[in-house]
Subunit: 341 residues, 2 copies
Amino acid sequence: MSTVTIKDIARALNISTSTVSRALRGSYEINQETKELVLEYAERLNYRPNPIALSLKENRSRAIGVIVPQIANYFFSQAINGIEAIAYNRGYHVIIFQSQESYEREAANMQQAMDRKVDGLLISLSSETSDVSHLRALQEQGLPIVQFDRVSHELDTTCIVADNFGGAFAATEHLIKAGRQRIAHLTIPPWLSITQERLAGYRAALEQYGLPYDETLVRYGTFGQNETGPMVDELLALPSPPDAFFTASDRLALGCLASLHQRHIAIPDDVSLIGFTNLNAADLLNPALSTVVQPAQEIGQVAVERLIELIEKKQKAAPPSTVKIPTRLIVRESTRSVVHS
Amino acid sequence: MSTVTIKDIARALNISTSTVSRALRGSYEINQETKELVLEYAERLNYRPNPIALSLKENRSRAIGVIVPQIANYFFSQAINGIEAIAYNRGYHVIIFQSQESYEREAANMQQAMDRKVDGLLISLSSETSDVSHLRALQEQGLPIVQFDRVSHELDTTCIVADNFGGAFAATEHLIKAGRQRIAHLTIPPWLSITQERLAGYRAALEQYGLPYDETLVRYGTFGQNETGPMVDELLALPSPPDAFFTASDRLALGCLASLHQRHIAIPDDVSLIGFTNLNAADLLNPALSTVVQPAQEIGQVAVERLIELIEKKQKAAPPSTVKIPTRLIVRESTRSVVHS
DNA sequence: ATCGTTCCCGGCAACGTTTGCGGTAATAAA
DNA sequence: TTTATTACCGCAAACGTTGCCGGGAACGAT
């Protein structure tokens, strides 16, 4: 109803739409008086250009698509926070898609994002995704893509990730220095890049300190519910059970903590626990949880900055590379070293 | 580059675009053979209609705007989760805006949402917002609006909220029954509807059990950082300090818990603590936190369902009303009753 | 008087799609 | 044979905006 168009202004001022258009963007070939007239009138009627018409004309949308497995996950919501803040300032909108850890939905989301003509795509892969040909197809069509957190290196895109190796190394080293010898690693699906990197950091630390790498101490979860119980049970039933747990995600850390509570295992007296997490309440847990924090917001920010750079400079942008954002080890009660008398 | 348009199909098949368009939507005035030809060809080339062109023509976008104070807040991210799931199934996209608890950004977000021609708006007000004339203006222009959680009743829209009164009543009643007499209420800005409702529930419970209502026990926070420390200090310095804390948000509950820890106040031995929250790790806190849980996801779902109803039935939709979603009291360690000997 | 400039502006097409209207054949009814 | 009906399809406008092209007026230079 009340939306003012360039035509309305043209009609009211008895000039052509092209003149109005040029006046509005301050073209040099418009009379100063006319310009002021148009500007003043547009201001008064609160004229706002129709971005949809622009999109149609310029075949772009000033929107970027963000595909994440789950919004209701503190890591991703923080990352989106970082993304949205930057994008907003740069004049881009953010359209959110959730893959719900489903390959199919992820592919459908991409199709939708393409249909909507997003100018670029930010994606963190679903845990089901091992084949990335759908992504490659879009990339080959010229869509700027930046991966973050859960990335695939089979794809030649810019990737923004936490320093998973370093974080895992630091966590494992810390446990070892606190006197732990049998360190279990509860982690996420093995085909994810971050899983491999964390596992590598874990192994490197074990090796450096002369501890054996025992495959039976490494357990892979999905992102399902209540899967830690059985994992913990199996580990504790081993002939030589673990004296520490290093978990690779928020959910696993919390699940593991809950499972240990239920089984009346004392932390850190019986076992240590450290997470690779993003919780803001880790220090309020029982016990306060040692953790390797991932700078989720910063990852989001860097990712969207790179993406916009890619969108706007297209050809002469920095070549694809992987950016590692440092992680931080925070030591709390759950990994206190226990003196064996 | 590779996007197929109706024109491409028309050219290839040597027919007009109107015929293609009609064939694609199965118009009766197109020859069966032609239809099949077009459908088959469109399928083969993976034709997908350009939603932007549609939007321009029909002056709608099949997108709904969601304005929340903060994405990185478990309540809102869960609500968005619910929203996105439903919207997706109904063919709508979700465009997210964060007001960052700023009135100005909220207003700017609305403007942007309007510019983008969202078909409807879902909003939870920023804590700074007391004047809602900007919202009213949009509503009077015919934009379907549904408020959720932080709503203003100065506006005649459908509102979806948790049962704040009931939840606060239940929490307060529970504390009283556990033997507490001086119950402090740490809450959010007083001009928010949810604040008033929770306060009313708190007062009603006090009254029902014959306890006096003491204004000095009620403290209003903003949504800033680290504001609970001073509040807790002031309360504990009262001549007759509280023996229980009832907090009105995730952040206040966690902040209060942290502040009490720092001051070495034992929970629940010295004071009780119960939150009005949405944390999924409340049972893992130290101590396990009693809480009134808000069904965030359900609130989001109901809100978007109502909004879509409003969008699609416009005139004959249900009249504005306020829907209260029940809350649930979960009792844990932090409000254990302490036997005074 | 003619030509070249400069300044300012309007017409038109285009982006992809839908839709009202008109038109052409073929067939049926008179 | 003429007329009405049916079945099928194309033309063109419209949504809001931009940009190319062209053109008129005014002016100075030749």
